[in-house]
């Protein structure tokens, strides 16, 4: 399970970084979203990966660490707000500068 999980995170992050470097606002937003998925999964895994563990202490031996789940929830909410903001900003930038390049002007050939 660990190897599969790690590979998933690696692929998500690599795709995110690739999209970030495209330097077009839509691709960059997608890239940031992929990276934040990877980060959220990573945070979740920091409570150690285990299956079948109980969620309430006192009902069995091994229990799942609740703290990373709370952290991930917070991170998801914040990430959602930030993504919404950056989408609006990207649209505004397209309207003001007539280009979707992150520098606000087309690169010279």
């Amino acid at each position: 399970m660990e190897a599969l999980f790690a590979a998933t995170l690696g692929i998500l992050t690599a795709s995110g970084v690739y999209l970030l470097l495209r330097a077009r606002t839509f691709a960059v937003v997608m890239g940031l979203t992929l990276i934040s998925y990877a980060v959220n999964l990573f945070l979740f895994a920091m409570g150690r990966l285990q299956s079948g563990a109980v969620t309430v202490i006192g009902q069995g031996g091994a229990y799942a660490d609740p703290l990373p789940q709370a952290l991930v929830l917070t991170a998801i909410v914040i990430g959602f707000a930030m993504t919404a903001f950056v989408v609006v900003l990207a649209l505004r930038s397209l309207g003001e500068t007539q280009t979707d390049h992150v520098d606000g002007r087309e690169p010279e050939q």
């Binding site: 940031l32 934040s36 959220n40 945070l43 952290l71 900003l89 930038s93 003001e96 992150v102």
Partner: protein, 501 residues
């Protein structure tokens, strides 16, 4: 448990929420509410300063959940000092804004309050994840404040700022995740004792997480090679926003001091002071590149933004040296550079308003209406920021240079700080002579100098002589601060059960 500790967060939060609910209120009632809440922060932060100066760490356990299980706020001398810095700067920036700049976009006052809440929270929290949350609060408010007033240039600068900081937040979470996964806690004091006990198989991971944090804080503090967003963003922002942003780079510096004296401080064994090897060359490079940028700047705001980068380099050098004297000198310089940097941004806007469409571009323009008054203020600010006697910049730099023993570090830092000061002076005198002397004969009489704006700008700049006059008490305070930061036992005791009052 003293409930005053949480008030610097609650007060702006409630004021900001009220302002959001009363979005239809008239601008003048919004101004009263916002100004009232910000002015209240002043006595509150000075009270907390007095409280912290008693020398005992104040811990506020939210919901009375004791650390390390609950979330705590921690007040020591450093956080109290930063709260005072923020409150004073915020008051003057808001005084400037209520003279007209706040009407250029909706929700300015609510955003301003949330910005203050995020900054105060970041200074007060004793929990690493909460530091992340408050970072996000202050960032999302700053994104909107940066765009306040609209225009293509602001959107261009804002897009870079927002995207870079979003990536920074992702890296922050990664670092927090690794630190939690290994130490099993998020409380910074508890993390410090866990990091000290880390085995050889865990130390490399902690090291990686610590350096990842350095990357994130370096981005906020704008050190080389992560400062490229700053000059454009600060030059594009409206004047009161740019003045308030003078504290934003200091949030990054504060976090560097906090994390690398507490979590990875004296007690951390093999991980102790891991950042210093990186900070030292980065600080010197930041200093050099900031001065070059200041010499090449094409507008007064751009020049001031690069001077902020120079001050960040100087401060980082003080932090990287690692001794108590150097840290105390850096803290004194931090007070000076925050207030004077903010004041100069306000002054640049006052000058730009009298130059018509030339704004503060460093080219020949129309004559100013109040050349003597504005010129005198510019002279005062330039002397302070370049570090000439008798103003506060000189004292800060002198303390920093004297904190070094003769040796390789001194050989590198002395010429850079002194040469940097000289070149800063050169850049400022070039800018000043263009703005005040290379002028046409005609004046634009459409613009009247606003007394409220002038008062806010003068207030901030005149803090420099005040800092010089009160140098003795301030110095003893910052020395006590540096001493407190290096004495880790009280911090570690805050997490023992029953130790918190």
């Amino acid at each position: 448990m003293n409930h005053a500790l949480i008030l610097p967060i609650l007060l702006p939060m409630f004021a900001g929420s009220l302002l959001l609910l009363g979005a239809r209120l008239s601008l003048s009632s919004k101004r009263c509410l916002s100004l009232g809440a910000t002015l209240l922060l002043l006595p509150l932060s000075f009270y907390l300063l007095w409280l912290a100066d008693q020398g005992v760490l104040q811990v506020y356990a939210a919901g009375n959940w004791q650390a390390p299980f609950g979330i705590v706020l921690l007040l020591d001398r450093l956080s109290a000092l930063m709260l005072v810095l923020t409150a004073v700067l915020g008051c003057f920036a808001l005084l400037y804004a209520v003279r007209g700049d706040d009407g250029r976009g909706p929700s300015f006052h609510a955003l301003f309050q949330f910005q203050l809440m995020g900054i105060n929270g970041a200074f007060l929290t004793g929990d690493l994840f909460n530091l992340f949350v408050f970072f996000e609060i202050l960032l999302i408010a700053s994104y909107s404040l940066l765009l306040h007033g609209g225009g293509a240039e602001r959107v261009r600068a804002g897009l870079h700022y927002v995207l870079l900081n979003l990536l920074g937040s992702a890296l922050f979470l990664l670092a927090v995740g690794v630190l939690y996964g290994i130490t099993g806690t998020l409380n910074m004091a508890d993390m410090a004792s866990q990091a000290a006990a880390a085995g050889p198989d865990q130390a490399p991971l902690l090291h990686a997480a610590g350096l990842l944090l350095l990357l994130v804080f370096g981005l906020k503090a704008a050190c080389v090679p992560l400062y490229f967003w700053l000059p454009r963003a600060y030059a594009a922002a409206t004047a009161p926003v740019a003045a308030l942003f003078a504290i934003m780079t200091k949030v990054g510096l504060y976090s560097i001091v906090r994390v690398y004296t507490l979590i990875f401080g004296d007690a951390a064994g093999s991980l102790a002071h891991m950042a210093n090897d990186w900070l030292w060359p980065l600080a010197l490079l930041t200093l050099v590149l900031g001065v070059i940028g200041a010499l090449a700047a094409s507008s007064l705001q751009g020049l001031l933004a690069y001077l902020l980068v120079v001050s960040v380099g100087t401060l980082l050098a003080g932090i990287a040296i690692g001794t108590e004297q150097a840290l105390a000198a850096a803290l004194y310089y931090l007070i000076h550079s925050t207030w004077i940097g903010g004041g100069l941004f306000l002054l640049a806007d006052l000058i730009a308003r009298q130059r018509g469409d030339k704004q503060a571009e460093l080219v020949q323009g129309p004559a100013l209406q109040n050349p003597h008054l504005l010129g005198a203020l510019f002279f005062l600010g330039a002397i302070a920021v370049a570090g000439l006697p008798p103003l506060s910049g000189f004292i800060g730099k002198l303390l920093l240079l004297r904190a070094l023993e003769p040796g390789l570090q001194a050989l590198l830092l002395w010429p850079l700080v002194l040469g940097g000061g000289l070149l800063t002076l050169l850049a400022l005198s070039r800018a000043g002579s263009t703005l005040f002397w290379r002028v046409g004969l005609s004046q634009l009489d459409s613009t009247e100098l606003d007394r409220g704006r002038l008062l806010a700008c003068m207030g901030l700049l005149l803090l420099s002589p005040l800092l010089t006059g009160l140098a003795a008490p301030i110095l003893s305070y910052v020395q006590a601060t540096a001493g407190q930061l290096h004495d880790l036992q009280p911090y570690l005791q805050t997490i023992r059960p029953g130790a918190a009052p």
